[in-house]
Point group: C2
Chain length 128, copies 2
DNA sequence: CTTGATGCAAAAACTTTGCAGGTCA
DNA sequence: TGACCTGCAAAGTTTTTGCATCAAG
């Protein structure tokens, strides 16, 4: 019987993922976690993110070639990538109406969709 | 003065990109090109794709963590990724209405957007 | 001929894996 | 205490770079 233990490293990483306002890169998680755990190894971050992914608690999203992780269960949502500061935000409003099963021009049967918006986030807009 | 030469390798790779029906991975380009140029090195493929990208003739798109390249100047379009066969198609119909400058809920100023649809392509639907 | 381009191999960047020692239950 | 977990380092992957040689003009 295998068990899955609660450790200081896993707790910290899990908390970071839950507190995030948008998806995070592996390096982001590592950096933030080291505030609490200076000696944390990058391998543990990779292993823990993989564990949480296998548990379905988080999942990866790819943006501009970078693999980021975000918590699951946020419901249908999309992302906004700020072209000024590079941060990625989660959007809870969906700009498309494509129910699963919709047949798209060309005969493509749509089961899901992903949208990413690019532009300027409120912080960067205010900084002008 | 720097020059940029026309070579057999570049011609072949350029032709492959122009003939593609959707974005291609580096390995796809390499495989296809080796039909004509058996000795083609992968480094040349990377260098040529980078060159064409710098020239604005092609550009990268990321899908499911993979970096693919497609020709530029196709106008506004999106992608359809078939969950059965894995191929990526180019769609010329856009499902969202977000003119540049639109302010999205939350105060995000939208400059551009990307949409990827997932489902079953016509070929796979017909194969059932 | 001159200089840019290619192929090979080494290097760099990013992930995963093996191990010995540390920690949770 | 036993089994799981961690950090470190080695091993994979993928992409970039250095170099001697080749070839476009």
């Amino acid at each position: 019987m295998t068990a899955t233990r609660s450790t200081r490293q896993r707790d910290v990483i899990t908390r970071i993922m839950q507190a995030a306002q948008g998806p995070l890169a592996v390096a982001d998680v590592h950096d933030r976690a080291r505030s609490d755990l200076p000696g944390l190894g990058i391998a543990t971050v990779y292993r823990t993110l993989k564990l949480l992914t296998d548990q379905g608690r988080i999942h990866p999203v790819t943006l501009d070639g970078e693999t980021l992780y975000e918590t699951s269960g946020q419901g249908h949502h999309h992302h906004f990538s700020c072209q000024d500061c590079g941060r990625v935000f989660t959007l809870h409003t969906c700009p498309v109406a494509l129910p699963s099963g919709t047949v798209y021009p060309g005969g493509f049967i749509v089961r899901a969709h992903e949208v990413t918006l690019y532009g300027q986030c409120p912080d960067c807009a205010a900084r002008v």
